[in-house]
């Protein structure tokens, strides 16, 4: 038997596992189980139940849309009120101006 054959026989010879082999395998399995129950696995589990949040999200959406609509309405009313106010001020200013102008004319005539 050559030296190479002896080395080969030795390498392929049956060996019993170490004494703590079973314990190490079981520990690895447990570690894997724990890892699944946390982190990404937990998030995946949560998303699977996300449909339960749908009514709350719908209510939130409805409230947001309502708030946006009310704000839009308020802006429209505000702009309309502003336009009316400016018209009112123009008319008031113009009519006061007219009155003042007429008084001035009367005074000028009296002076003449």
């Amino acid at each position: 038997m050559t030296r190479f054959e002896e080395q080969l026989k030795q390498a392929l010879a049956r060996q019993d596992p170490s004494e703590d082999f079973n314990a190490r395998v079981l520990a690895a399995v447990e570690e894997c189980r724990v890892r699944r129950s946390t982190g990404a696995w937990r998030w995946r589990a949560r998303w699977a139940h996300s449909w339960q949040l749908a009514p709350a999200l719908a209510a939130l959406l409805a409230l947001s849309l309502g708030a946006i609509y009310q704000q839009h309405q308020r802006i429209a009313r505000g702009e309309a009120a502003k336009e009316k106010l400016l018209v009112a001020m123009r008319v008031a200013g113009a009519k006061l101006h007219e009155a003042r102008d007429r008084v001035s004319k009367v005074e000028a005539m009296e002076v003449q």
């Binding site: 702009e79 009120a81 009316k84 113009a94 009367v106």
Partner: protein
């Protein structure tokens, strides 16, 4: 029987509260003139609407800054203006209905100009102590009738400051054409 009258009484009380808040009551007959007018302005702005309008006035526009200053303490602004294509479309009783209210205590006429052309201008002030608490301008011309009622503390000089701005001619220039300022028909 009494129970049936309660809602009417409440409505009447509420209505009178609105009228007293407004200072003077613009008669309903006046609003009917809009049907005959070629151009009309109908502005009713109570305190909340004035507050809202004021929020939308620009801080960068000098005219709007002036207006904001004027309206900051006002309780209401009411304008009715009608332009007609022919004379005799309104009666003096329409004007008299307002004039009679201005005979109430506190009101005093500071300007009254009557021309032979039938162009009449009257300016009334309501005084509350030393402060002006209201202003009414009545302008009655053959083809035009305007009533301006400003309720609340106002300085007429501040309104005059708008002269030369916002389409209001400067004092001493030609007569302004109010038709340019009308908002609705």
């Amino acid at each position: 029987m009494m129970g049936q009258n309660i809602p009417r009484v409440l409505i009447a009380l509420a209505f009178s509260a609105v009228l007293s808040a407004q200072g003077i009551n613009i008669p309903h007959n006046l609003d009917k003139l809009a049907e005959r007018a070629t151009e009309s302005v109908d502005v009713t702005l109570d305190a909340p609407l004035l507050q809202l309008a004021s929020e939308f006035l620009s801080k960068d526009n000098a005219d709007e800054v002036k207006v904001k200053k004027i309206v900051s303490k006002l309780k209401g602004v009411y304008v009715r203006s009608f332009e007609f294509d022919k004379e005799g479309q309104y009666s003096m009783s329409d004007v008299e209905a307002i004039r009679s209210q201005l005979k109430a205590p506190g009101w005093s006429r500071i300007v009254s100009v009557k021309s032979i052309k039938g162009e009449n201008s009257e300016v009334y002030l309501k005084r509350d102590g030393n402060q002006v608490a209201g202003l009414v301008v009545l302008s009655a011309e053959p083809k035009e009738l305007t009533v301006v009622n400003i309720d609340g503390p106002i300085d007429p000089e501040q309104l005059s400051e708008l002269s030369g701005h916002m389409g209001i001619p400067s004092f001493g220039r030609s007569k302004p054409k109010t038709g340019n300022t009308t908002a609705s028909k």
